[in-house]
Amino acid sequence: MTAPDISELQESLLAEVASADSLDALEAVRVSALGKKGAITAQMKGLGALDGEARKEAGQALNRVKDAVQAAIGARQAALDAVALEARLAHETVDVTLPPRPRLEGHLHPVSQVTEECIAIFGEMGFTVAEGPDIEDDFHNFTALNIPPEHPARQMHDTFYLNPPDDRPAPVLRTHTSPVQIRTMETSKPPIRIIAPGRTYRSDSDATHTPMFHQIEALVVDETTHMGHLKGCIIDFCRAFFDIPDLPVRFRPSHFPFTEPSMEVDIGCSREGGELRIGNFGEGADNWLEIMGSGMVHPKVLEYGGIDPTKYQGFAFGMGIDRIAMLKYGIPDLRTFFDADIRWLRHYGFVPLAVPSMVRGL
């Protein structure tokens, strides 16, 4: 075969490849060119009749043809594959506006979330969480907190009593989380640094009071903690909790039986337009909102807890968890906290993966 013959063969084979309009047609071309009885294969077999240089030359030429044809078939095959895929995909559609299969996720109640937020903040300050029973005895709820028997808080209109099982004083539903202070002092030695969140009860029921609510209590007892520390700790907490670095915090002298000196704590707010907002709005007379009671632990309370008041001192404070939740998250009505209205729980609740942490932000 002469060089022009070989060149002609290549052209005709490439033309056949180019004109193959299906994978089957392309396969037929491949067989007719490269199959056992194909044109190129036949020429290859004929090389044996040549000799020396001629055979070498013709062999090389044929190999070039073979490579070119194979490459053309590969390219043609890819092109035909692409067309076929395109044709298939053109038939495969889904209505992407269909709603997906539901994935139900519940929510955490704001009381749980806010409690954990408080734990995250106080945890950074070295507090640990203590707990106590809801049904308390008279001693832990009142006497040990220096609340004398005749104190109005002990009367029927404030405290829930249970029917006494025998001659002993009737058990009470704890009216505050403060009995946990006493239980902690009874079972541990200073230095003490605890917080105690939990359910509390008072026989009150109106627009702003519910018979059950939540408090969080803090207690620090050591040899050196003074009112400056009390102020520092509360200011640090309030600013972190509300995430307002310049939140004004005011301390007013007040009176509680279990602390001396005692102070009430106000934070800055605005009531403009009838809407309550927490923040720094200047120190106008109307720009304060009371949020907790605090003070230095009364020496008698330390004594009741079995701690030497001539050696140890410290502070305590307590606030309503529901209340700070309302303030932080703009929840208008306390009573709705306990109604378990599914619309409310979903609206004000928190997704379970949002675990509060000071490192990640509350």
């Binding site: 519940g106 109640h109 029973p133 049904i135 249970l162 640094r193 059950m212 400056g228 599914i342």
Partner: protein, 798 residues
Amino acid sequence: MKFTLGWLKDHLETEASVGEIVETLIEIGLEVDTVDDPAAELSAFRVAHVVSAEQHPDADRLRVCRVDTGDGTVQVVCGAPNARAGMKGVFAPVGTWVPGIEVELKAAKIRGIESSGMLVSEREMGLSDEHDGIIDLPEDAPIGVPFAEVLGIDDPVIDIELTPNRPDCTGVRGIARDLAAAGLGMLKSFDSAVPVAGSYDSPVNWEIAGDGNACSYVVGRHFKGLTNGPAPKWLQDRLRAVGLRPISALVDVTNYVSLDLGRPLHVFDAGKLKNKTLTMRRARDGEDFMALVEKEYTLDNEMTVIGDGDTAEALAGVMGGLESSCTEETTEVFLEVALFDPVSVATTGRKLQMESDARYRFERGVDPESAEWGAEVAARLILEFCGGETSMPTSAGAMPDWQRSVELRNDRVATLGGVDVPAERQAEILEALGFETERLNGRMNAAVPSWRPDIGGEADLVEEITRIHGFDRIAPVSLDRDAALPAVAITPEQRRTSTVRRALAANGLDEAVTWSFMGRAHAELFGEFSETLLLANPISSELDAMRPSILGNLLLAAGRNADRGFADVGLFELGPAYQDATPDGQQLVAAGVRHGHVQLAHWSDKARVADALDAKADALAALEAAGAPAANVQISRDAPDWYHPGRSGALRLGKNILAYFGEVHPAVLRGLNVRGPAVGFEVFLDNLPPRKDKGSSRLPLRLESLQPVRRDFAFLVNAEVQAGDLLRAARGADRDVITDVALFDVYEGKNVEEGKKSLAIQATLQPTDATFTDAEIEEFSAKIVAAVEKATGGALRG
């Protein structure tokens, strides 16, 4: 406790403004509730001169007045019959809010004549019902001056909410003393206590019965030849300003001294007393008392009365009686200046639900010394206002010994109060508050004044010094920690609780917080009810017992949601349930309910109503999150009787019950009046085994290089055979090789004979050293079939 600025200035020499005074009151712990400034509210109303008043051309009853307001002359059309030229009246310009008729004045034409502003009546100003004509002032009233000033109601009223420890501030003088100590002026001297000489022996005397009544000491004085008219205007104005109605000079004096000095008094009309001796005694059980407020009370033996013979003429420390009260005809009186036990007065007042100014003061603790000076102050005022003469004082009992000293180490102000206050300044503050101090080396003795029963120890003195020095001068100090990193704040149990809560929410349940109480009738649906859980004073019968189970409240909540049109809910709560009233009787429980559909109708799936196994899944999710050994948990059919007997179960570790789950018993739903069905679970977190501390390291992971083999089997078993038994048998057939058994079909019906069912499982066989041969696989399969047959009597389906 209400007082006016003018009243305060009787005792306090000060130039401070109302604003400064209010701010200081707050800073020293006298919380200001409200400040009312009537002058500010009525500031637009000013004295004006009616220059001329002419007949309106088109209206008989109207006059056209030219009015000099002090700011110029305006024309006003006025309909009052007494409007006339030359008179002085009260003028309100355009733009004024007129409270009595609730109108903001606008310039107007009245019958064609321009009118700018208004001459007003007392009713229009909201001062009284007087509306016969416009206010007609004396000729010398100065034009342009605010009318409130002329009227003497320009005195701002301050109302403070007094903490129970400050009896001294139940009188204006005590408040003045606190303000003076805080540097807001000088406390004026108090000279009205100078003794008033008596001219005769009192014909009425005191006796204190030895029955342990509330009175420790009482002073009295008799007065005769009195004329009980109205009190002077200044005193009436004072009383009115703080919300009291003036009655007569005698009664007003007692109220005034009570408010001014915190010393409650009572005057008996001596002419109406039947006996020569008034007796402090306990009341008889069931004794009747007709109070001054014309209401009858029934007393008991715990209360103290002032008896005139057999009749109770006053309820000690709370209120006088109607019978012996003073009237305008009264000419002789007997004055009571007593000391009563605070607790007794408080208890009596509370029992009878009687509020009074006397109770307010006695229950906080009245200054014991005031028994003596109170009699002098009252005598001086009574004689001044009513004439007549007074007897020598008469008394019974003895003044309690109130003198005491408290020691203060001066450095405690810094070490407890957190602020450095020099010792001289400490003494100065205490002296200003009425203490007498004696300075010693590094400490001082402070003699407590008679009016401060609240001061008991060193901490009280630190409070006095720091509150007057100013809490804002205590520098805040952030808490420091022992180490750079904080210790873990919560216990493993608390962390477990938190994880369970988040796991249940992640499982699709919404967290609720419901009452710890429920109604007894509902509580009794949840097992044997302990009477110790009943509240003695519930707020309603629906909330009269501590809940023995959380489920009831959650089911009620689901019912409420269904009533609102949201029947498909999943709720859980993590909180207490109570077995009895002891601290150990409180359990921590995670409970949940699913009501309605767990899966709503969707284009890809059919709707599905919650069933017992949804509740089981929730309970298992909670246990798994809690780190319980879920693989070892056994399932039994013995859930308590608030669950459906055939569709419920218990999850347990031996005898230890970890959880119940299942459909709620229809009778319980009926008892709660909730439409079912509903399913629920209770996980008892306190029953979970404590997590063993095995360190943080996990067991080594073993990854087999050989592929597992899976084989399917369908067994025909009796219908009552439990799937769990079959699965356990299959799994146990060769624990080394069979790593998993999954149930993939449960079938009853066509091609399965009556009373039987088909259970299809897939077993996973894991080779370790070499691929299984066919013979080996056959061998394992035979083991599974044999084990299942042995445990359940089932056979491979043909």
